[in-house]
């Protein structure tokens, strides 16, 4: 991994983000309805509407609007929310923190469970345990988050068996137990699909590695099976798993929208649905850009981690 590679890769991310800003802006320009009329309601006078349009720069040509939006965004200023009468940044940043907490719990749990599960399946290829794990993975990959989430609610939060709260949020700083009990169901709903993907990926990589020459050599050397698995096979199967995890961040970000809505988790997803329903353009723009940025950066991070992890990968 050379410095040149990093610079080029980072440049590519910047280019992608530039394209995303353009796409997001184009999408919001195309939204039906005039924002000024939306804010003032049907009864705003023409003068009021014209004044507000001027204030929101709606009367300027699109490229000027785009330039001023990107200019502001670069300085961390996404304008004012049209509905909440707050600067967008003040609305979005706490939501981002809450979403990040949910995503982190889900990812951590998934990684800790899926990697051993996949490795176990690879070590018992063709045995019942492997088939059960495989079946579970397929079912997990075929359940949309809203189905999993709703079924989890029925099972764990129904009247008479309220094992866990049906929704809401408690900050970890306030009460760790409260946070964990509130995060359990949404994180499970989010994690199931990822668990399926990652365990399958680890299984298939691990199977290849177990059949490879260096593992055979390690066995012939007389190393214990445990050492062969933990020191030789597993570490070499992880780089592709990391690649899948980072691609799955895309799923996670999509899934988070639905899951937060169902469990009333005050994060970016719930904010986005609120903003879409209320045509709160600056909030829609900021949230979309933020989600795309997280995705692009996680892909970059995974490339770097893979390059650092796997000596065979050489990016010139």
């Amino acid at each position: 991994m050379t410095l040149g590679y990093l610079v080029r890769r980072f440049g590519a991310v910047l280019l992608v983000l530039a394209i995303v800003t353009f796409a997001v802006f184009a999408v919001t320009m195309l939204l039906p309805g005039n924002a000024a009329i939306m804010i003032l309601g049907e009864y705003g006078s023409d003068d009021q509407i014209a004044a507000l349009e001027k204030q929101l720069n709606l009367n300027r040509p699109w490229w000027e609007q785009y330039a001023s939006w990107v200019g502001g965004a670069l300085q961390g200023d996404f304008g004012m929310s049209l509905r909440l009468s707050l600067p967008v940044t003040e609305v979005v940043l706490p939501a981002l923190a809450n979403s990040a907490a949910l995503a982190a719990v889900a990812l951590l749990a998934v990684t800790l469970i899926a990697i051993p599960l996949g490795a176990y399946a690879a070590l018992h290829r063709g045995k019942p345990a492997d088939l059960i794990i495989g079946l579970f993975a397929y079912i997990g990959a075929s359940m949309p988050e809203f189905v999993t989430a709703t079924l989890l609610l029925v099972i764990f939060a129904g009247p008479g068996r309220e094992f866990l709260p049906a929704g809401g949020f408690v900050a970890p700083g306030e009460s760790i137990i409260g946070f964990l009990s509130h995060v359990a169901l949404p994180a499970t709903a989010l994690g199931l699909v990822l668990m399926a993907h990652i365990s399958r990926q680890v299984r298939s990589e691990m199977s290849d590695v177990l059949a490879s020459d260096f593992v055979r050599a390690a066995r012939l050397k007389g190393l214990t099976e445990r050492r062969v698995v933990w020191r030789h096979a597993l570490p070499n199967s992880l780089a592709p798993a990391i690649a899948v995890i980072s691609l799955d961040i895309g799923y996670l970000l999509g899934g988070i929208i639905v899951v937060e809505e169902i469990f009333a988790w005050p994060g970016l997803g719930r904010l986005l649905i609120y903003a879409l329903e209320n045509r709160d353009l600056p909030v829609i723009q900021a949230v979309t850009l933020l989600l795309a940025m997280v995705y692009a950066l996680s892909n970059l991070l995974s490339d770097i981690v893979i390059a650092a992890f796997d000596p065979r990968v050489r990016y010139g």
């Binding site: 590519a12 280019l15 992608v16 983000l17 530039a18 394209i19 995303v20 353009f22 796409a23 997001v24 999408v27 195309l30 939204l31 039906p32 088939l131 397929y138 079912i139 990959a141 075929s142 359940m143 949309p144 988050e145 809203f146 189905v147 709703t150 079924l151 609610l153 029925v154 129904g158 009247p159 895309g250 799923y251 970000l253 999509g254 899934g255 929208i257 639905v258 809505e261 986005l272 649905i273 879409l276 829609i284 979309t288 989600l291 795309a292 995705y295 692009a296």
Partner: protein, 272 residues
């Protein structure tokens, strides 16, 4: 086909897929009741001989509603995928065949669009176009386009410099002929495999949009909408959410399994 039925995945996928397609084709005709008829004396019931999968808050027969909703749910997945695959493959083939600056510009755009998660992209487009089944389908198709463009481009690139393509060029065939008769048929199998798996996604996203109230509208029996309408009553009759929810999962599972088996059957390296 014989290759497909050799693995357990292939058998399970084919069986599930056949059931799903049969439901989509025949569902409304074999439903035991009218899906919208109220049975006021049998509301929010669990399964019984009269109502095999129970009834909803109006006493409507859940099995009949499920069967009635199969065509719209499945055709949404198929239609959205077909549109997305067509548009994406067209763009990917143009990029792959043209190469050079055209290719670079198209692929950078595709990269940018791929940085927006599928569901988010779909939600944005649905908000522009407005809700409803037709627009939701279009939105999913648009969201699928960049990914399909990337896959079909790489499929085209892998065959573009093969000898038979060069031979056709040397014979002086037109570009259109070469693309249509030499490149596309040989680049088709990865596109078909990807498309099959994407149907599963499209069904899931379509149901999610229905669930969020942005896709099919009441009184439709689209499965995602059925789950959404059932949420209010889910604690009184869990069957109302479980039945359509599991049906969505089984339909997606069928396409996932079948797609994977198709990949193994079409990819000679996968054979052991």
């Amino acid at each position: 086909m014989a290759e497909l039925l050799r693995s357990p995945t292939g058998i399970a996928g084919t069986v599930l897929l056949s059931i799903v397609i049969a439901m989509a084709a025949l569902g409304p005709f074999i439903a035991p009741y009218d899906p919208q008829t109220f049975h006021p004396i049998a509301r929010l019931q669990g399964p019984s001989w009269a109502h095999l999968l129970g009834t909803d808050q109006f006493g409507r027969d859940i099995l009949s509603r499920l069967l009635d909703g199969a065509p719209s749910t499945i055709s949404f997945g198929l239609g959205a995928t077909l549109l997305g695959v067509a548009a994406g493959s067209f763009i990917g083939v143009v990029a792959g065949v043209a190469g050079g600056a055209v290719d670079s510009v198209i692929m950078r755009l595709v990269d940018g669009l791929l940085a927006i998660p599928d569901l988010l992209f779909t939600l944005l487009i649905v908000t522009i176009l407005g809700g409803g089944t037709g627009y939701a389908m279009l939105a999913v198709a648009v969201a699928f386009t960049p990914g399909m463009a990337r896959i079909s481009r790489s499929a085209v690139l892998s065959v573009r410099t093969r000898d038979y393509v060069l031979a056709a060029q040397a014979r002086g065939e037109s570009w259109g002929w070469i693309v249509g008769f030499e490149v596309l048929p040989n680049a088709l199998s990865p596109i078909i495999v990807e498309a099959t798996i994407r149907v599963a996604f499209a069904i899931m996203i379509g149901a999610t949009l229905g669930f969020l109230g942005l896709g099919a509208q009441p009184p439709s029996t689209e499965w995602g909408l059925m789950v959404a309408e059932a949420r209010q009553f889910m604690f009184r009759n869990p069957w109302m959410v479980a039945v359509p929810g599991i049906a969505i999962a089984l339909a997606a599972l069928g396409f996932n399994l079948f797609g994977d088996a198709l990949r193994d059957a079409l990819d000679p390296r996968g054979r052991r």
